[in-house]
C-alpha cells in the first residue's frame, strides 16, 4: 500500500505544484477557478484518453511516439508559460495597481487564463496518464490486494494535493507587492525545467544529440528520485546529471523568457517598484 502511495504521490505532486503556482499567479483574477477547473477536467479526460491509446502513441513515429508526444506537450506548455509571463509583464502594473487600490478582481485577467488553463491541463494530462496506467495495472494484476492498493493510491493523491496546497498558501503569504515578481520567476524556472525535460525526451528518441552525456553528477548529494529532488525537479528543473543539450535548452529558455519580458513587458522589477 505504501509503495502505491509513494508512486501516486510523486506523480500527483508535479501537477499539484504547477496548479499551486498557477493559482498564486492569478490571485484576484476573475473566473480563475473556472479556468483552472476546466484545465484539470480537460487534463483528466486527456489522461484517460492517453492511457487508453498508450499503445498507439508508443508505436507512432518509428517507436518514438511516447517521447515525441511528451516533448511536444512540454514545449507547448513552455510557450504558454512564456507567453503568460510576457503578457503579465505588460499588464502587471495595471493589475497590481487595481488590486491594491480597490482590492478588486481584474477583468483583463481573463486573457492569460487561457494559457494557464492549458498549462494546468497539460500537467494533469502527463502525470495523470501514468497514474491511470499504473492503477489499471494493479486492478488487473493483483486483484487480491486491489483494495489496499486503492487505499494507497488515494493516500498518495491526497498527500500530493496537500503539498500543492501548502505551496499555494505559502505563496499567498507573500505581499501582493512582490507576488507578481515571485510568480513570474517561478513560472520562468518552471518553463526552463520543462524545456530541459523535453530536450531529454528528444535525446531518448535519438532526435537530438546529447552533446555532453553528463555535465555534472550530483545524484549522490541530492537524487532526483528523492522527494526533495522531485520537488526541485518540478519547481526549477533540477536534474542530478543533465546532458549538455538539456542544460542548453534550460539556459536558452530562461534567457529568452527573461529577455522577451524585458522587451515587451518592460522590466518587471521596475514596475513592481512603481507600485510600491
Amino acid at each position: 500500500m505504501l509503495a502505491t502511495a509513494i508512486i501516486v504521490f510523486r506523480e500527483v505532486l508535479e501537477a499539484a505544484l504547477i496548479i499551486g503556482i498557477v493559482l498564486a499567479a492569478t490571485r484576484g483574477v476573475v473566473k480563475r477557478s473556472a479556468w483552472v477547473s476546466a484545465g484539470v477536467v480537460a487534463g483528466l479526460t486527456g489522461a484517460a484518453l492517453v492511457a487508453l491509446f498508450a499503445d498507439v502513441i508508443s508505436a507512432a513515429v518509428a517507436g518514438a511516439g511516447q517521447e515525441v508526444f511528451n516533448a511536444s506537450i512540454l514545449f507547448f506548455a513552455v510557450i504558454m508559460l512564456g507567453w503568460h509571463n510576457v503578457w503579465m509583464g505588460r499588464h502587471g502594473r495595471e493589475l497590481a495597481q487595481q488590486m491594491n487600490a480597490m482590492g478588486q478582481a481584474v477583468k483583463e485577467g481573463e486573457r492569460p487564463m487561457h494559457m494557464l488553463a492549458v498549462v494546468v491541463g497539460i500537467a494533469v494530462l502527463r502525470e495523470g496518464s501514468e497514474v491511470v496506467l499504473f492503477l489499471y495495472g494493479i486492478a488487473t494484476a493483483q486483484q487480491d490486494q486491489a483494495g489496499q492498493m486503492l487505499a494507497g493510491g488515494v493516500l498518495g493523491l491526497l498527500s500530493g494535493a496537500a503539498v500543492g496546497l501548502m505551496m499555494y498558501l505559502g505563496l499567498l503569504r507573500i505581499s501582493s507587492k512582490y507576488l507578481f515578481r515571485v510568480t513570474s520567476w517561478l513560472i520562468t524556472l518552471l518553463a526552463a525545467g520543462m524545456a530541459a525535460q523535453a530536450a531529454g525526451f528528444l535525446v531518448q528518441a535519438d532526435l537530438l544529440p546529447a552533446i555532453v552525456p553528463t555535465v555534472w553528477n550530483t545524484s549522490e548529494i541530492l537524487s532526483q528520485n528523492s522527494v526533495p529532488g522531485r520537488l526541485l525537479q518540478t519547481l526549477i528543473g533540477y536534474t542530478d546529471h543533465p546532458t549538455g543539450i538539456q542544460l542548453l535548452f534550460y539556459v536558452v529558455t530562461l534567457v529568452s523568457i527573461a529577455w522577451l519580458m524585458r522587451l515587451y513587458g518592460g522590466a518587471p522589477t521596475r514596475k513592481t517598484a512603481c507600485v510600491a
Binding site: 509503495a3 508512486i7 480537460a42 486527456g46 498508450a54 499503445d55 508508443s58 508505436a59 507512432a60 513515429v61 518509428a62 517507436g63 518514438a64 511516447q66 517521447e67 515525441v68 508526444f69 516533448a71 511536444s72 506537450i73 514545449f75 507547448f76 487561457h114 492549458v118 491541463g121 501514468e130 496506467l133 499504473f134 489499471y136 495495472g137 494493479i138 488487473t140 494484476a141 493483483q142 531529454g200 535525446v203 531518448q204 528518441a205 535519438d206 532526435l207 552525456p213 545524484s219 537524487s223 532526483q224 528520485n225 536534474t239 542530478d240 546529471h241 546532458t243
Partner: protein, 112 residues
C-alpha cells in the same frame, strides 16, 4: 481544451513525424519484464557504442522502464515492446528499474 491549441499540438506532432528518424543498424539487446521482474537482470553491452535496448512487457500490468543513471524513462503497456536507444556509454554499470515495481524490478546494464 480549445481546438486552436489542439491544432498546434497536432501540427507539432506531424512536424516531428516528418523528421527522418535515423534508421541506423545499431546492435540490439533484449530485455523482458514480467510482473515486476526483469529478465535478464544484467545486460552486458559494449562500451563506447550506441545500442538499442528492446524491452518487452510480458506481464499483465503496465511497467515503466526507468533509469536515472541513463536518463531514460519509457512506459511499456502489457504485451508491448519498446525500443530505447542508449549510449555510447563509458565502461561501468548503470542501474535501471521498473517504476511501478521499484522494489523487485531492478537490473543493471554493464558496459565493457
Amino acid at each position: 481544451m480549445n481546438s486552436k491549441y489542439l491544432g498546434v499540438i497536432m501540427a507539432m506532432l506531424s512536424a516531428t513525424a516528418a523528421y527522418p528518424l535515423q534508421a541506423k543498424d545499431l546492435p540490439v539487446f533484449n530485455l523482458s519484464v514480467k510482473d515486476g521482474h526483469f529478465s535478464p537482470v544484467q545486460v552486458e553491452v559494449p562500451a563506447g557504442e550506441k545500442f538499442k535496448l528492446v524491452v518487452k512487457n510480458e506481464g499483465s500490468g503496465t511497467e515503466e522502464f526507468e533509469s536515472s543513471d541513463l536518463n531514460r524513462e519509457k512506459l511499456i503497456t502489457p504485451g508491448a515492446s519498446v525500443v530505447i536507444i542508449i549510449g555510447p556509454l563509458k565502461a561501468g554499470s548503470y542501474g535501471f528499474y521498473g517504476e511501478f515495481h521499484p522494489q523487485t524490478a531492478r537490473g543493471q546494464i554493464i558496459a565493457k
